[in-house]
Symmetry: C2
């Protein structure tokens, strides 16, 4: 049963599933402490550490819906497939540990693409101390990536979406809108013929595209905030600030959120590409998906401690608003006008959107 991985010049269908499994197992690395059985049996066998909760998240990415091979390298997609799950774990405050990978591949897919995907996936996993423990490979009509991630949090420390209280500050990490703007640039929507953005520099374009193809899940920030019990609610930004903020308000008990437009954290590249007068700027900032930043709430008394965690992990956070006892999510525009903020993205209605786990209903 010890076949040698084939040359990567072949297509997956030429060499078959067993060869592909050998390619994966050869890269998966040694089993960590607490894992008795990894790849190579009917199931993995794990001992959960005492005094900890197991946090489990799963996401599925489908070619043509969530990614486009013209716009992303295999290595970037591998890293991003893990990142979207790391981001969910980070939003719970869980330390990611083990991952399971389901991979559907068209038989014509080159082995070199699979090798590069795995290299990106496993390098991203290794960087976070995450080990691949199993999975499944199947033939499919399109590339499908299904990832299930396990993380651990000390008992009671995992942070939910519900829990914000009126008066809590609302924070966002990093910057928002970059990823959706990067995708728009990849799609050519901002070509010179479009008229608005002839002025995008190569460096800004590269930054924004990288924010789309190589998001940075805020694992250490989420874990730090949760470990110190500083935050009352937390979620990752996968569908845009407007839509994801609504999840914080759902309760029970329900709260409201007022977002200050003037406080939105926007990158220099974003601001240069979409200048303040650009009518599309607000939409990308508030409704652009796939930022994989953290949105969280904390009482004002925790502000200094939140800043200390932010500084310690090197990820900036910005107070963007406040929870209150009014209904829903509202935006105070720079003009002072307050408007209801409606967001969200329907994954059956449009291609290119991020994958959202079952986040909408309790």
């Amino acid at each position: 049963m010890s076949s040698v991985p084939s040359s990567s010049a072949h297509a997956v269908g030429e060499r078959g599933e067993f060869d592909l499994i050998a390619r994966i197992a050869a890269h998966a690395g040694a089993m960590p402490v607490g894992v008795r059985v990894g790849i190579g049996d009917d199931a993995a066998v794990i001992t959960c550490p005492a005094e900890h909760e197991l946090v489990v998240t799963t996401d599925m990415l489908v070619e043509g819906r969530h990614f486009d091979r013209r716009f992303t390298t295999a290595a970037d997609l591998g890293a991003k497939s893990l990142a979207v799950n790391l981001s969910d774990a980070a939003a719970m405050g869980a330390v990611p540990r083990h991952v399971f990978l389901g991979l559907g591949l068209p038989p014509a897919c080159p082995c070199s693409w699979v090798d590069d995907f795995l290299a990106g996936f496993l390098a991203a996993a290794a960087a976070e101390g995450v080990v691949l423990l199993g999975g499944d490979t199947v033939a499919a009509g399109e590339i499908i990536v299904s990832v299930t991630l396990h993380g651990y949090a000390t008992v009671g420390s995992a942070v939910r979406r519900r829990g914000a209280r009126p008066g809590d500050d609302v924070y966002v990490s990093g910057t928002i809108g970059d990823s959706s703007l990067g995708l728009e640039l990849l799609r050519g929507g901002f070509s010179p013929a479009g008229g608005f953005c002839d002025h995008v520099t190569a460096a800004d374009r590269e930054f924004l595209v990288r924010r789309h193809n190589r998001p940075t899940p805020r694992v250490r920030l989420g874990c730090g905030l949760a470990a110190d019990r500083l935050v009352t609610a937390m979620i990752d930004l996968s569908d845009g600030l407007a839509g994801d903020a609504a999840h914080l308000t759902a309760g029970p008990p329900a709260v409201g959120v007022l977002i200050e437009e003037s406080a939105l954290p926007l990158s220099p590249a974003f601001c240069r590409t979409l200048v303040p007068a650009d009518p599309r700027r607000r939409n990308f900032a508030l409704r652009g998906g796939e930022d994989y930043e953290l949105l969280f709430t904390a009482p004002p008394a925790a502000a200094a401690a939140v800043g200390e965690v932010s500084a310690a992990v090197g990820v900036p956070v910005r107070r963007v608003g406040r929870a209150d006892d009014r209904p829903g999510v509202r935006l105070r525009r720079c003009s002072g006008e307050i408007i209801p903020l409606i967001g969200g993205f329907d994954h059956f209605a449009a291609a290119g959107s991020p994958s959202a786990a079952w986040e909408q209903h309790e």
Copy 2:
């Protein structure tokens, strides 16, 4: 965010993802003991019981490769999607507990199909005490079902594929070959024009097709054998006896297996459909996949205890051979001749095959 599930007359794409999530969450039921967060957050949060190992298995099923909507109802497919994972857990001797469901759906897929799929999936889960804790729904070009199952086994009791020793008896539960024969009947390969099987009765056809569409994972048998520490190695039969027996021999340490053709457990319907003189009989019995029976080894001294577990759970087991110190898997034909037994199924080379997890390499 509290939308009411829509009428099932619509297509998935007409109503969108959030509606679908509501349909799923509405059916998922209450959270069991040990689960702090289920569907409705970034991740599920679980407390693993002390003195237990967590057993994790994942499988992906793709339309047109692993199933055909002409041949299976949505409810049967839902139940089978869970069953293939329950079977992996059973082969470890783990009690199944929690499940995560990734579902890729073409936008034109009727909501009624999804409802029926979920009804079948959740009824099969409830029958085994398994609770749906989360998942993901995405648009896709074909139906994709990705299931991750968690089970628990007391520390050290989970049974691996390696561990058989020369002299151990080799057992198979239930009967083999029925599922692949049922699939062949569904495909029309045994039509009257085919010449061989004009004599298949309606009752036999129904039995064989049901064995394909509604396999019965041997959860209680696997758990009983593992709990009593009776077996030295165990695997479920997903790719056919010939191929799966090879996994028992891989070690380390490597052992051989000699299978007795005269001892193969075949159902009356199988025997009536493929009579002993039929040249296809041996191939279906030895290489037909998707039986989801258990193949296991135990020392001869455990024979009586194995029989007691079998009787207690109401699942027959048959001794089909013996492990030895010769290389590989061999078959002793009814004629007395001993031949090497080569099996296996390549999932990229042919449609309609079962989904095999990464079973081939350690």
